[in-house]
């Protein structure tokens, strides 16, 4: 029987949503600061307007839904699912006011693309966008990569009562340290340390490339957030091609890989346990799938003789592959070159890499390595059951931080989420084909959206059908949250309508 949600449910949800919105409004102070630094009066006004709208909405929700009760699991999930949608709408306000997006839907698309660390863009005339708006595009990748709820609630000292439930809702179910607050603090510590290191190294590289130092460090900070949070926005319209530099490609590639690694693995490496890096099922899975998918991409490029020299083939092929596999979406080829110059085989290699993704508890999207590893182990177990004499069967083990035994519920969960991702990829592919795009293009762009990658083969542009934009927004949202909170939200609405 479906129970109609109580008034208390709605109050609790509203109260926490309000808190998160107020927290989000406070993050808009950062682009305002940047606007003052670069003397950009109109953009500053845009952000003041957006921050005030957010504060008004957030404070009203907190006032009218005031509650001191703890969040239930269901409520926590709904708060998460809703706060991502609300953050998209509020985050789109300053973008839309800039005049660089043709419609509010386009601005929402860009905001969700940023928050979900995807990186598909609908911005117009990016090369003339203000520093404050550009920083906001990149900052929302950082906020979304860390988890909107975690970021927003860190502004409140006492805001953590229901935090763990929301933490799980944001697809961050692995606790690194026993306590969720410590875990999120550790994630902050890791992220800020890398932020400093990454910005400095990209900044220095930029200066060496002949950029003025202010711009170098601005680009450095933006590109760090895009790389480490596996987002894929860049401050200029040419993406990474803007820099014309091998060293810039190398540094961003290292940052992308770091961003695709489980925060637990960062923790192990930080406390000196480096051996873990070569034993963990996710790391081994990542190495293996990178080699396999690069073989596919490379084979296609060789057959097609797209690039004349081996070293160029490697540089182009490997960069796009790592960008796709880590779910970042940086490109050193133009979107139209994918379709015009890359053979189907190579595109399929990239699509497979995008669909697999990086580690759980990182900022990548997609199925992720732990699930792939578990499914592989389960398959091996079943094959052994057939081949080996009955008594020789040993329980299957795998190494993920510690040695674990393969258990049926894990296998079941891994399979379920994998199937849901495959369905999500299929949904966008069908939608693309419905609107007349070829199969492979549709599959490429749909996988890129649902796996939060952001590589584009050219479908994502301002004139694409609005329904397809909405489909991609849904894919980015559901893919980033790993479904559960999204399903809870649908269940909640169903219960509101049909419950007793």
């Amino acid at each position: 029987m479906l129970l109609r949600p109580s008034f208390q449910d709605i109050r609790n949800i509203g109260y926490y949503l309000g808190k998160i919105i107020v927290g989000l409004a406070l993050t808009m102070l950062i682009p305002i600061l940047v606007g003052f630094l670069w003397h950009e009066p109109e953009p500053v006004i845009d952000f003041f307007i957006a921050a005030e709208v957010s504060l008004v909405v957030g404070l009203l929700l907190m006032k009218f839904c005031y509650s001191q009760k703890d969040l239930s699991w269901m409520q926590g999930m709904i708060v998460v699912a809703l706060s991502w949608l609300v953050a998209m709408v509020l985050g789109a306000i300053p973008l839309y006011l800039s005049g660089h997006w043709h419609s509010f839907l386009d601005a929402c698309f860009e905001a969700m693309s940023g928050l979900a660390t995807t990186g598909l863009v609908l911005v117009q005339d990016l090369d003339h966008l203000s520093h404050s708006h550009n920083l906001w595009r990149h900052l929302i990748m950082f906020i979304g990569g860390q988890g909107i709820v975690i970021v927003a609630l860190s502004f409140f000292v006492k805001g953590f009562s229901g935090a763990f439930k929301m933490y799980v809702g944001e697809a961050r179910d692995e606790k690194i340290l026993p306590n969720v607050i410590h875990t999120s603090r550790f994630i902050w510590l890791v992220s800020f340390t890398y932020l400093a290191l990454g910005t400095i190294s990209l900044g220095i590289t930029g200066i060496a490339l002949g950029m003025p130092w202010q711009e170098s460090f601005f680009h450095g900070a933006c590109n760090f957030m895009a790389a480490f949070d596996t987002g894929g926005f860049t401050p200029q319209s040419q993406n990474i091609l803007y820099y014309h530099s091998l060293s810039y490609e190398v540094v961003t590639m290292v940052l992308m890989i770091l961003g695709a690694i489980n925060f637990k693995m960062h923790y192990q490496a930080w406390i000196g346990n480096r051996k873990e890096v070569f034993r963990d099922i996710e790391m081994l899975g990542f190495f293996t799938t990178v080699i396999i998918t690069f073989f596919i991409v490379g084979a296609g490029l060789v057959q097609n003789s797209t690039y004349q020299q081996g070293i160029i083939l490697f540089r182009k092929g490997f960069y796009q592959l790592i960008s796709g596999h880590t779910g970042t979406g940086f490109q050193t080829v133009y979107p139209s070159q994918f379709i015009a110059e890359w053979p189907h085989l190579s595109l399929v290699g990239i699509i497979i890499a995008m669909a697999l993704g990086g580690a759980v508890c990182s900022t990548t999207g997609a199925i992720k390595m732990l699930r792939i590893g578990i499914i592989y182990k389960a398959l091996m177990e079943d094959i052994k059951k057939i081949i080996l004499p009955e008594k020789a069967i040993l329980a299957q083990r795998f190494h993920h931080i510690k040695t674990l035994f393969l258990e049926q519920p894990q296998v079941r969960a891994a399979f379920l989420i994998t199937i849901l991702y495959l369905a999500l990829y299929a949904l966008g592919t069908l939608a693309g084909m419905w609107f007349g795009y070829p199969f492979l293009n549709s599959l490429f762009e749909s996988t890129s959206a649902a796996a939060n990658v952001g590589l584009s083969c050219g479908i994502t542009e301002v004139n694409m059908p609005a329904a397809l934009k909405i489909t991609y927004i849904f894919q980015m949202w559901a893919g980033r949250l790993e479904f559960m909170s999204v399903f809870t939200l649908f269940g909640f609405f169903l219960a509101l309508l049909k419950g007793k």
Binding site: W38, E40, P41, E42, P43, I45, D46, F48, I49, E52, V53, L55, V56, L59, L60, K63, L97, D127, H128, L129, S130, H131, L209, G210, M211, P212, E215, Q236, S237, Q238, L241, Y242, H244, L246, E249, T306, Y307, Q308, Q309, I312, L313, R315, K316, T332, V333, Y334, S336, Q337, A340, E341
Partner: protein
């Protein structure tokens, strides 16, 4: 005899003129990307606005030129780049330049990037400032929102006392 020669020369011109004119016609970035293999290693003319940063690296350097469709990297000798005054960014339109150079679909010198190696760069139009005053509707919205926000803060402060 000279009359015949003149006539031949004239005919020749008529035949050649469209070809010459075509060679002098700028190509758009969309055409370049679409028919990259066709234009590969050919001399082309490309026109657009210099955007971002002028990146001089020793004796040569890079600019990125946007023609409204896409921005394309242009590799050039440093003395050409020093003549460019302004690159486009927020609040500024960059210099409009005409590039005469060799187009590369996948440049072997530069890691396989699609680029243009400039043989000559000519400035067609100087860049200018595009900063506008803040539109009235934004000012009104800001004031209205501020008033609403102050009222809400005041009410919630008041209710907390009780």
């Amino acid at each position: 005899m000279s009359a015949i020669l003149k006539r031949i020369a004239f005919l020749f011109l008529i035949v050649l003129l469209p070809v010459i004119a075509r060679a002098e016609q700028p190509v758009t970035s969309v055409e370049l990307l679409k028919d990259a293999s066709f234009y590969n290693a050919k001399k082309i003319i490309f026109e657009g606005e210099v955007v971002g940063d002028i990146m001089i690296r020793g004796k040569s350097g890079w600019i990125n030129v946007n023609d409204g469709g896409n921005a394309i990297g242009v590799f050039a000798a440093a003395n050409f780049l020093k003549d460019i005054d302004q690159a486009g960014r927020y609040g500024k339109t960059g210099d409009l330049v005409q590039i005469f150079g060799v187009f590369n679909r996948s440049c072997t010198e530069h890691g396989g990037d699609l680029d243009i190696h400039a043989l000559n760069i000519q400035r067609i139009k100087e860049g200018n400032s595009t900063i506008r005053s803040i539109p009235t509707f934004k000012q009104i919205i800001l004031v209205l929102l501020s008033v609403i926000l102050i009222i809400i803060l005041w009410i919630s402060k008041d209710s907390r006392k009780h």
